[in-house]
């Protein structure tokens, strides 16, 4: 079954946020990523899998090793959504200015 996840699930967990931060430096293998965490390799591997399902990271096969790298475009979705939320509130407040003028 193809599990569809969205990018916000990627950042919902502290370990996954830490992995994303690590990957801003450059692509890494699962072993190298796991080396930065106290949790088990399986636990870290599960987080990487979720990040991949969210589209937050891409796989890059290099010889016999798989590297994971940040999917920058996908991360921009968050910025995009935040911007529309910001505009929603800006618009509400501008409309509220008009309501207050009449009170």
């Amino acid at each position: 079954m193809d599990i569809r996840r969205d990018i916000y699930q990627a950042i919902a967990d502290p370990t996954r946020r830490a992995i994303l931060t690590l990957l801003t430096v450059g692509a890494m293998t699962p072993n190298a990523i796991a080396g930065h965490f106290g949790s088990s390799r399986q636990a870290v591997s599960k987080h990487i899998q979720i990040l991949a399902e969210c589209g937050a990271v891409d796989q890059d096969q290099r010889g016999r090793e798989i590297f994971y790298q940040l999917n920058i475009n996908k991360m921009k979705e968050i910025d995009h959504w935040m911007e529309s939320f910001r505009k929603l509130w800006q618009t509400r407040f501008n409309q509220l200015d008009d309501v207050l003028k009449d009170l």
Binding site: R92, F93, L96, L100
Partner: protein, 164 residues
């Protein structure tokens, strides 16, 4: 006159800080946030309109309204008042709704604390902190009940807002 609009997401903390100043005394701003007929005039970005279904402004009371699109599409917003300090603060817990405005049991929640402050010169300031639950996704809430999976509506809103 600057209104000092601040919109500051702190994604790691799952919080969004929103503040805005108004050129009106705090009593009027409080009324505009607590009288449904007034709220309906500003809460939905035009040409969307707002319709209040339930308004029980007591601790534990429910506030349910719909944002209605020009095509009649409704986005329900369901909130429970968790704290009210008359004239100065309101806290609400937002819940996810189905298409009929019924809150989804066990669904993700968001929490909003809003403070109303008086400023010099008959001005006032509103400061909100919106907090999202650990496993909820921020997008799901958009505060306005714009539901997950309504990507088309999101882009509608984007276009709408871009045209403002």
């Amino acid at each position: 006159m600057t209104n000092n609009f601040v919109f500051e997401p702190d994604l790691a903390a799952k919080k969004i800080y929103i503040t805005r100043e108004f050129d009106a005394p705090v009593e009027k701003v409080w009324r505009a946030w607590t009288e449904p007929a007034l709220i309906e005039r500003w809460i939905a970005p035009k040409p969307w309109t707002a319709e209040t279904k339930t308004w029980d402004f007591t601790v534990g009371g429910v506030w349910l309204y719909a944002m209605v699109g020009t095509d009649g599409q409704r986005f329900w917003v369901y909130a429970v008042f968790t704290a009210i300090e008359n004239g100065s603060a309101i806290s609400t817990t937002g819940m996810f709704c189905d298409g009929d405005g019924n809150p989804v049991a066990g669904g993700p929640k968001s929490y909003r604390d809003t403070k109303f402050l008086s400023l010099d010169g008959n001005r006032s300031k509103v400061a909100s902190v919106i907090t999202f639950e650990e496993e909820s996704t921020i997008k799901m809430f958009m505060d306005g009940g714009f539901k997950q999976g309504t990507a088309a509506s999101f882009s509608n809103l984007d276009e709408l807002l871009a045209a403002e």
